[in-house]
């Protein structure tokens, strides 16, 4: 997952929803999608573990 991209996508969804001009059906679809994405992001954060590579100068 590209965390930054996905986080921005969630932010965009929130902005579009708050705008209030979407048709109902699209709103509901977007809401379902955003709910899923938020859960995925939180899950991703929960499981994130620092990955360390080592190199010589």
């Amino acid at each position: 997952m590209n965390f930054e991209t996905e986080l921005n996508r969630l932010r965009e969804m929130a902005n579009r929803m708050s705008g209030g001009s979407l048709p109902l059906e699209e709103s509901l679809k977007l809401y379902e999608e955003s709910k899923k994405l938020a859960v995925e992001l939180k899950e991703y954060i929960k499981n994130a573990k620092l990955v360390i590579e080592k190199e010589e100068a």
Partner: protein
């Protein structure tokens, strides 16, 4: 006259004072600069708890004792036996120990002044070249951080700890470099170069604190130029106590500790989680708002449809008809009532003017020969008349006629 009377005999104190005055008042021995090797150094505390150094300057078996109270001037190194130093001070006598000494106000390592001047010149040169004006933006969400430091020190552990806590989704590429010793400069330069090739989007370089000698490689011109040439932004994390190293001037950001460096370049996951929570809430209420907006719109539409239907119009027509019928009925009733009352009044008037009604009030009708008599002159004595009373009638005979 004895000899004793001719010669002035001084007290020990007087002689000592004289020597002291002569020595300490001599402009030749005041604020003089002297170079020598430290053959002994003892550090102790004064009664005021400040540091105090007792030492001996030596040159070809000639010793000059000295004392220096820190706080008089800054002593920016830790003097050790064998150091060549340059001191500035004045000669004094410490009477109780029969000892003269140089009371110093400053002590510098020999050659340090030259070195410091050269270093400041280098700093100025690089500043003029523009090496210190590079302050690039950092990615808000870094994906990979190159860390150029010793692979054995605590610096890496501090950085890992801070990143794991704050932003564990980042990748770290540790590039091991020697941070002290002869090849430190070249090793650090190679580390910065290597960092360009590992797909990192920023570099943290540095080491933990150390002595001035240990930190010398971070003052290197070659390293400064390597940092400046970096394609990705850099953070300096060099622990130090005194003059800031050259690499800090060049780096895009400077941190006091490795932990701080990690904090400077990463967002805090706690804030991100809070952000996600806020967005979820926003989305939820926007969706709920949308649904209730639509419900309201539906209600309005339903009402409009209902009002426009033929059945509704018929029902509305019926009730209008009913209303009008009622209005008419009420008006008619009122009119009839008024007519009835008028009729009753008229009938009363007719009843009131009926002659028989008048008779009942005590009047009589007199007739003779089928004719109603209204004057006495129409009758004569002996005429038979009929008298009609309110109730019944009688027949009578006239006995007297009065003309008026």
């Amino acid at each position: 006259m004895s000899e004793n009377e001719k010669v002035h005999i001084n007290s020990v104190k007087e002689v000592t004072d004289l020597i002291q005055c002569t020595l300490e008042d001599s402009p030749l021995l005041r604020n003089i600069t002297v170079r020598g090797e430290l053959s002994s150094v003892t550090k102790s505390k004064t009664q005021y708890k400040t540091d105090c150094y007792y030492f001996t300057l030596t040159e070809n078996n000639v010793n000059l004792p000295g004392v220096m109270f820190t706080g008089v001037d800054r002593m920016n190194f830790d003097p050790k036996k064998g150091d060549m130093v340059v001191c500035v001070g004045s000669a004094t006598i410490y009477a109780p120990h029969e000892k003269y000494q140089l009371k110093c106000v400053s002590m510098k390592r020999d050659g340090e002044g030259d070195e410091a001047t050269a270093f400041e010149e280098l700093r100025e040169k690089l500043r003029k070249e523009g090496l210190f004006s590079q302050r690039r933006p950092f990615p808000k969400f870094p994906k990979k951080i190159a860390v150029v430091t010793s692979g054995t020190g605590l610096v890496q552990e501090d950085i890992y700890g801070a990143l794991q806590r704050r932003y564990p989704m980042v990748k770290v590429c540790l590039i091991h470099a020697n941070v002290q010793g002869g090849n430190a400069e070249a090793s650090l330069c190679a580390g910065i170069r290597k960092a360009q090739t590992v797909g990192a989007d920023l570099i943290i370089f540095g080491r933990g604190g150390g002595s001035e000698t240990d930190l010398k490689c971070f003052n290197s011109e070659a390293l400064a130029r390597e940092i400046f040439a970096s394609k990705i932004p850099t953070v300096s994390a060099v622990g130090h106590r005194l003059n800031h190293p050259l690499c800090e001037d060049v780096a895009d950001k400077t941190a006091g500790t490795p932990t701080e460096a990690a904090e400077l370049v990463t967002p805090d996951i706690a804030n991100i989680i809070a952000d996600i929570g806020r967005m979820e809430q926003e989305l939820r209420s926007a969706a709920a708002r949308k649904i209730s907006d639509c419900e309201r719109a539906l209600e309005v539409a339903e009402r409009d449809v209902r009002l426009a239907s033929p059945k509704e119009r018929l029902t509305r027509g019926e009730s209008e008809l009913e209303r009008l019928t009622m209005v008419i009925k009420t008006a008619m009733t009122a009119k009839l009532d008024r007519a009835g009352a008028e009729l009753r009044a008229e009938m009363q008037r007719i009843v009131d003017t009926n002659p028989t009604t008048v008779l009942s009030r005590g009047y009589s009708i007199v007739s003779a020969g089928g004719k109603i008599i209204t004057s006495a002159e129409e009758l004569s004595e002996g005429d038979e008349i009929g008298i009609r009373l309110g109730k019944g009638s009688v027949t009578a005979r006239i006995t007297l006629v009065n003309g008026d």
